[in-house]
Subunit: 317 residues, 2 copies
């Protein structure tokens, strides 16, 4: 049974509004929204292409989750409260079970952060998913990439590298239905919205790690006009990552793997210990190095510089 | 020469900010924007797929224009002032001349409406372009699809059908470089932002005609819970459309053709003549029928109902 575009939107993506700041949601030419006074609007968009950003044949639930998560991660990196999303779906065909699954994954994550889908577009074409998210933050408290200063202490949240390990398992033939924690971590990585909130007005700089820690740190340093030094022995490596890949490969996954949606951030040295202790009560955060003058990003072990080859994910390199 | 993603953004899409309400534009995890007090935020998104929404091999300039125009048309239909845009580009390869051309088309239209590109994403994949636009309108003045009432007078702007005629010429072998006015109209149709502004607080309902007048009128009527009657002899048919296709085919193009970005709107009967006279001083608008009780959309000529088969453009029908 072929569903038309409008039936499709109605059936899978139209739900009663839950936010009082949505004056008009899905169904008109555009959405009418009511931003809170005194806040900056925060806007981000990311596109996922089948076979490039998610595996061909990936379950709809994971793709729906992933498409929203990568965007929410951008808001987390700004310290923003997410509010609204728009969804553009290009689909080769209407497979109702896949779409229902996609909507489940999308809404499970949206609901957990109070995000409402307020508009979008569905077209026939190759499987490409674009989500735009909108949120808010007081302008003076927003986290930016450009505020890191020499002497600032460098942190990363959670356990980067696990997504890359999960992806490697899937590429190696592990079925997509696997409940292995590393596979689930790749399929359903969680954006660090709450940590972003806790960092606003506190971190001197922040960005999300979506293309690999080392490459993304390079971008943060370039935006701030600084360099950085990473202590390889301080990197957070989860027990399960270590068990699966050993120290050396795990380290590379932590430094170069993508799709983790962890936050990389800097704290001014003064008060960094106290702040770290406060953060650690609620979030897994690890001190991995420090910001330096210059423009180089160096990795070291026992005081010796170690070269780590390979960079972040650059879609056209 | 292959350009990386970040060089690509820098080279073609990063420009000095021109709007004081852009606190942070392209280059961080998300944009920081400052909406005006007392206004609703208006948000829309549309996706264009090569070979479906634009012809394979279409010049970048036309695709860049088209991708923004279809979105600005949605804002026009709400009576909104456009402000900001985000752009997601999925590209099979980096062809610098095409991208430069795309940016030219995009920015020419953006600049003419004071719109600033504040973020986006570039990925490798099939040629798919998604734009999201954000604008403002006082909530009480916003144009919606749902306000039409029986007795309201029905209008359309400009000369719908010309884009369809231009597309038919291209499909028939006319080269894309043609300067034929109908071809140019298809490649560079202009959104009716100024007319949308003039209608706010005045039109009882409005929407843009992007999928065909008849199908779109059906959506407006469904949203308003009314029917409508179109007087076929009142349809605006441009001289060049008539000269190229004759009366009958032209009428079908006006009723069923897409991509015109004209506005379909209703005015309350009381004062409609005066309002029409005012509008006509600045905009081409034509009275084409009226809103009725019920739910049917009928076309008539000399008091007899004429069946027009074929509907609007439904991407999955």
């Amino acid at each position: 049974m072929a569903l038309g575009e409008f039936e499709l939107i109605d059936r899978f993506f139209r739900r009663p509004s839950r936010r009082s700041d949505v004056l008009l949601g899905v169904g008109d030419d555009a959405a009418l929204l009511e931003p809170p006074a005194g806040c900056a609007l925060v806007a981000a968009t990311d596109t996922l292409v089948e076979g490039r950003h998610f595996l061909a044949g990936a379950p709809g639930r994971s793709v729906g989750h992933h498409a929203l998560a990568v965007n929410l991660s951008d808001l987390a990196a700004m310290g923003a409260d997410p509010a609204w999303a728009l969804l553009s779906l290009s689909l080769p065909e209407v497979r109702e079970d896949w779409l229902e699954d996609f909507a489940l994954g999308f809404y499970a994550l949206a609901d957990s952060h109070g995000v409402e889908l307020v508009g979008g577009d569905t077209v026939r074409g190759p499987l490409v998913v674009t989500v735009e998210v909108l949120g808010f933050v007081e302008p003076a408290l927003a986290l930016r990439r450009s505020g890191a200063r020499p002497g600032d202490v460098l942190f990363v949240s959670g356990w980067p590298g696990e997504s890359a390990a999960g992806l490697a398992m899937l590429r190696g033939g592990v079925p997509m239905e696997s409940r292995d924690p590393l596979v689930l971590r790749y399929m359903y990585a969680q954006p660090r919205i709450e940590l972003g909130r806790a960092l606003r007005g506190r971190a001197s700089a922040a960005m999300d790690v979506s293309d690999g820690l080392l490459g993304d740190l390079g971008k943060l340093c370039a935006a701030s006009g600084v360099g950085a030094r990473i202590d390889l022995d301080a990197l957070p490596i989860s027990d399960r990552l270590l068990a699966a890949h050993g120290r050396e490969a795990s380290e590379r996954m932590v430094l170069l793997g993508g799709d983790d949606y962890e936050l990389l951030f800097t704290l001014p040295a003064a008060g960094a210990d106290r702040r770290q202790a406060e953060l650690t009560r609620d979030f897994p955060v690890t001190r991995i190095g420090e910001i330096e003058a210059g423009h180089e990003v160096l990795c070291e072990r026992d005081g010796r510089v170690i070269e780590v080859t390979g960079g972040g994910y650059d879609h056209f390199a």
